[in-house]
């Protein structure tokens, strides 16, 4: 395997998961939401969000009619964004130019 073969394959696998598997994800509440529902405090998180400017709320690309396509597109964009920022951050950390600011 060539030097960047592994990295390229890894990224393609991540993108494939984000694009092709995400529309099939279970829509059941997750562990914490389920406990909140059972225990009766789920309402505390409803109708209030400190940050309302998310470009892709709830992993559904706005303006895309088909829900599976909206989720797949959200997955594609998010995975690429995380890869690019992560790669860049790692480069900065490796070269020792990074300061103390958070990502």
């Amino acid at each position: 395997m060539k030097k960047f073969g592994f990295v390229t394959i890894g990224l393609l696998v991540a993108l494939a998961i984000a694009i092709f598997a995400s529309p099939f994800a279970s829509s059941f509440p997750d562990g914490l939401e389920w406990v909140a529902e059972q225990t009766g405090f789920l309402h505390l998180s409803e109708g209030y969000a400190a940050w309302t400017k998310s470009p892709v709320p709830d992993y559904e690309m706005p303006g895309v009619g088909n829900p599976a396509a909206a989720t797949a597109l959200a997955g594609l964009i998010g995975t690429l964004a995380v890869f690019i920022v992560g790669f860049g951050l790692a480069k900065l950390m490796k070269s020792g130019k990074s300061g103390g600011s958070a990502a």
Binding site: V7, A14, T39, W51, G78, V82, A90, A102
Partner: protein
């Protein structure tokens, strides 16, 4: 177990921002030393994989779901501080870009999944490895056990935060959180062992924990 806005008190949320922020400052300065030259793009790939895999909720028990966390995967691949960086990055992008996890709870989520999952998870892995031995099976066992423990421990810490905030009593929220996540943790262990075994088979030089052992 991404905490939304509203579950945890302001005091605790602010304290978590302070702790997670301090760890982030140290990690950003020191994590680069743990990265081999070839691992620089690997950090990006690991973070991308964690983000993608976290989108895939799988059903557990009737009516509940869980998803992969990836903190122990990242720490076995890249070391504890870089695993923290991966979780910090993924959680920040999920929160700001996708409205997953509250902004006021970001410090808590980074603490639970980055510090507890990634950093403590790494030392649990090292501790188990010291007992299980460094054979192929011993290594896989340590990866799996630490992955499972990371989920149960992180979710228990989350339960403590909710109880300390007066949101729900600990005697209810701790057993339910740990119970559900003991099941979700099985999925975590299966995914982490599969991915790490695959990487160990193809490119063992990419694994931080294999590199650390070779130098030891």
């Amino acid at each position: 177990m991404h905490i939304p806005d509203g579950f945890v008190s302001t005091e605790l949320s602010v304290a978590a921002f302070a702790v997670s922020g301090a760890v982030a400052a140290v990690a950003l300065k020191k994590a680069g030393k743990d990265l081999g030259e070839k691992q620089v793009p690997l950090l990006g790939v690991t973070a991308a994989f964690v983000f993608a895999a976290q989108m895939i909720n799988f059903p557990v028990l009737g009516g509940t779901s869980g998803h992969f966390m990836g903190a122990v995967l990242a720490s076995v691949m890249l070391g504890p501080l870089n695993a923290f960086i991966v979780m910090l990055l993924v959680l920040s992008i999920q929160c700001l870009g996708f409205a997953d996890g509250g902004l006021t709870a970001l410090g808590l989520n980074v603490f639970n999944m980055g510090v507890v999952g990634g950093i403590i998870g790494y030392y649990m892995f090292r501790g188990i490895l010291a007992v299980s031995g460094k054979s192929k099976n011993g290594y896989a066992f340590a990866v799996g056990a630490a992955s499972w423990l990371s989920i149960v421990l992180a979710s228990s810490v989350c339960a403590f935060e909710i109880a300390l905030s007066g949101t729900a009593p600990l005697r209810i929220v701790l057993p339910s959180m740990a119970g559900v996540h003991a099941l979700i943790g099985v999925g975590e262990a299966v995914i982490t062992v599969s991915v790490v075994s695959l990487v160990a088979g193809v490119r063992p030089d990419m694994l931080h924990t294999r590199i650390a052992e070779a130098q030891a």
